[in-house]
Symmetry: C3
Subunit: 252 residues, 3 copies
C-alpha cells in the first residue's frame, strides 16, 4: 500500500469514517424536501444522527444541539430561506462547522443574492457542481477558496477539493449517482458528519467524498439500475470497511 | 401454542391485521415531510388507504372522510400546526380515533406547549420514545396514561403500552429500525390503521407494535443494511402471515 | 408482430422512449411532497432531467428553462397553488406542453374550483382516476376531451386515452402499483417527458402509459411485495428495451 500516492487521503478517510461511527455526531440538515429522506438515511447509515427541522422559530435550538450544520438551497422557498439565515448565523456564532450546498444557484439571480448573504456567515465548505461553483465566481475554484476563504468542493465526474492552498482530485463514483435524485445532497449531508469529527474541513471533505465515491462504485456494481443503486448505496455506506475503502479510493 | 403466556396478544394482533387487510380503513396522516413516503407506503402495504393533506383549509373534510387520524409533530412548522389543531378538534368532535406522536417534544418549549394544547382533544393513543414521553410527564407512563386518560405507548428496545390499568411489553424489533428515518413515524401511522378496526385503543396499539416489531425482525434477517431493510420492511408488512406473527410475537 | 392490432402504438411508444433517452428533456414538476422523490427518480430513470422548485417567485424561470411542465394537485396548499397558477400561465404563454393531474379533486369544492381556473391555461393532457375525471364532468371522457379540448387520460385497471376524436385503451399494469404511494403521480411526471419529445399529446400520453404499464408488469413479476416493487419499477424503467415493450404492450 505504501507505494500508492494517495495513501494519506485513503487512511485519513478510513479513520474519519471510524470516528463518525463511534462518535455518532448530530448533523442538522436544512435541505430540499426531495432530499430529506435520502440525506437522513445516508447519515443514519454511517451512524450519524440527523435532525431536519426547517422552520426559523425552532432552528436555533436545533443548531445549538448539533455538531454540524448543512444548508442546501434546493427547492428554496421563503420559510426555509429564513430558517437558513437563522441557522447559518447561529452556526457562525456558536462555532459549529457548516456546509453550504448552493443548488442551482446559476439559474436564479435571487438565489445567487441569497447565497452571497449566507456566505457572510463563513461556511467551512461550499460544495456544488461546476455550474454552481462557477456562478459563485469559481471558474477557478482554488482562487475562490483562497478569496473567501473556505473549502470549495466542486463535484462531478472528478471532484476537486481545495482550500486555496491544498487541493486534491477524487476520481471515484458512478454514473448511476446522476440517475437518482438528491445523491449530491446526501453527499453534502455526509460531509457534515465528517466536519463534526475532523477539525480540518479540507480533510473532512476529502474523506467524505472518498467514502461517497467508493460507496457509489460498489453500489453500482451490485445494482441493476437506479432503484437498486439507491438501496445498495445505503447498505454499502453502512457496511463499508477499511480494506475496501483503501483499495478503491482514488485521490491524487 | 396454548402454553405460551402471550397467546391472547398474538392472536388478537393477527386478527386485527386481518381486519385491516379486509376493511382497508382510511387513515389521514398529518406528518413530517421526511415521514410522508414511508408512512404512506407502510399503510398501503397492510392494505390501508392513506391521505396526507396537511393544510388547515381542507383538512376537516379529509378527517370527516377518514377512519382514523395520526398527528406527528416532526419538522413542525406553523401551517402544519394549524392543520394539526383543526384536524385534532375535528377528530374529537366527529368521534374518530386519533394518535399523537410528539416527535422531539423534549427539545423545544414551543413544541411542548403545542402538544399540551392538542392533548385537550383526547387522543386515543400517545406514542413516543422515552425522552418524548418523559417530557410529557411520563417518567411513569402508567400514571401518565391513567391521568390523561389515554393509551401511552413508549417505544424503544422494548415497547411499553399502557392505558393506566393494563400494560404489556413488546420485545420485538431490530436495531436496523433506528438506522432508517421515520420508521417510528410509520409505526404510528400503522397504529392509526389498527385504531380504525379495533375499538379498544390499547389492544389496537399492542397489535400494531407487535406487527411492526415482528416485521422489523424478519426484514432485518433478510437485509444487508438499512437500504434493503426499508425495502424488506414493506414487503414483509405486505406478506406477513399469521403463523409467522404468532411464532415470533413477544408480548408479556 | 405485424399480425397484432396495436403494432402502431407499440412501435410509437418504443420510438418515443428512445427519444426521451437521447434528448434528455427537462421536465418541471410541481407536485405533492410525497410524490417528489419517486417522480424525480422515475424521470431520471428514463433519462429526463427533473426540476422541482415549487415556489411562485422562481417558478417562471424554471418553466422557461424546461421542455414540459407537470402540475399535480396532491397535498395542495396555498404556496403551491400560487406556484401552479404562475407555472401554468407561463407554460401557456411560452408554448410549453403541460399536464394537469387533479389529485382528489372530487373530495373538495375548493380544489375543484382551483382546477377549473388552471384549465383556462390549456393543459395538453389531464390525467386522473375515474373519480377525478368524473368530478371534472368526464363521466364520458371522450366528450370531456372534445369539449375542452385536451387529451384526457383516465387511468385504472384499464387506462383510456382520448382527445375526443381518437381513443385507445391501455391494459398493462399491476395491482402492486396501487400499493405504492405516488406511482400515479410518477406516471404523470413520465408523461411530461414524453410530451417534451412527441408533439402529438395524445400519442405521447399513450406511449407514456404503455411504458409505465409494461414496466409495472415486469417489476411486479420480479418483486416480493410493494417495497421491492418500487425498486424494480425504477430499474425496469431504466433498462426497458424495445422487444420487451413490443411484446407486452396491450393497447387497443
Amino acid at each position: 500500500m505504501r507505494a500508492r500516492p494517495n495513501q494519506d487521503h485513503e487512511t485519513a478517510a478510513a479513520a474519519a469514517l471510524s470516528r463518525v461511527r463511534e462518535r455518532r455526531p448530530k448533523v442538522h440538515c436544512l435541505t430540499s424536501p426531495v432530499a430529506l429522506e435520502l440525506s437522513a438515511n445516508a447519515l443514519l447509515a454511517v451512524g450519524a444522527v440527523p435532525s431536519l427541522t426547517g422552520h426559523a422559530s425552532g432552528v436555533r435550538d436545533f443548531v445549538a444541539a448539533t455538531d454540524a450544520l448543512v444548508v442546501n438551497l434546493g427547492m428554496l422557498e421563503p420559510a426555509r430561506e429564513d430558517a437558513a439565515r437563522v441557522a447559518a448565523e447561529a452556526a457562525h456564532v456558536l462555532g459549529r462547522p457548516w456546509l453550504l450546498d448552493p443548488v442551482k444557484v446559476e439559474l436564479s439571480e435571487e438565489r445567487l443574492a441569497f447565497t452571497r448573504r449566507l456566505l457572510v456567515f463563513g461556511p467551512a465548505v461550499v460544495r456544488g457542481n461546476s455550474a454552481e461553483i462557477a456562478a459563485l465566481g469559481g471558474e477557478d475554484p482554488v482562487r475562490l477558496a483562497a478569496a473567501m476563504p473556505t473549502v470549495v468542493a466542486r463535484t462531478g465526474a472528478e471532484d476537486l477539493v481545495t482550500d486555496g492552498a491544498r487541493h486534491v482530485a477524487v476520481a471515484n463514483g458512478s454514473e448511476l449517482m446522476d440517475r437518482v435524485t438528491a445523491v449530491g445532497c446526501a453527499a453534502s449531508a455526509l460531509a457534515g458528519a465528517f466536519l463534526a469529527v475532523e477539525p480540518d474541513p479540507w480533510a473532512a471533505t476529502v474523506a467524505a467524498l472518498l467514502v461517497v465515491g467508493v460507496a457509489g462504485e460498489i453500489a453500482a456494481e451490485r445494482a441493476r439500475g437506479p432503484g437498486s443503486f439507491a438501496v445498495e448505496l445505503l447498505d454499502v455506506l453502512y457496511g463499508l470497511d477499511e480494506p475496501a475503502l483503501l483499495e478503491r479510493a482514488r485521490a491524487r
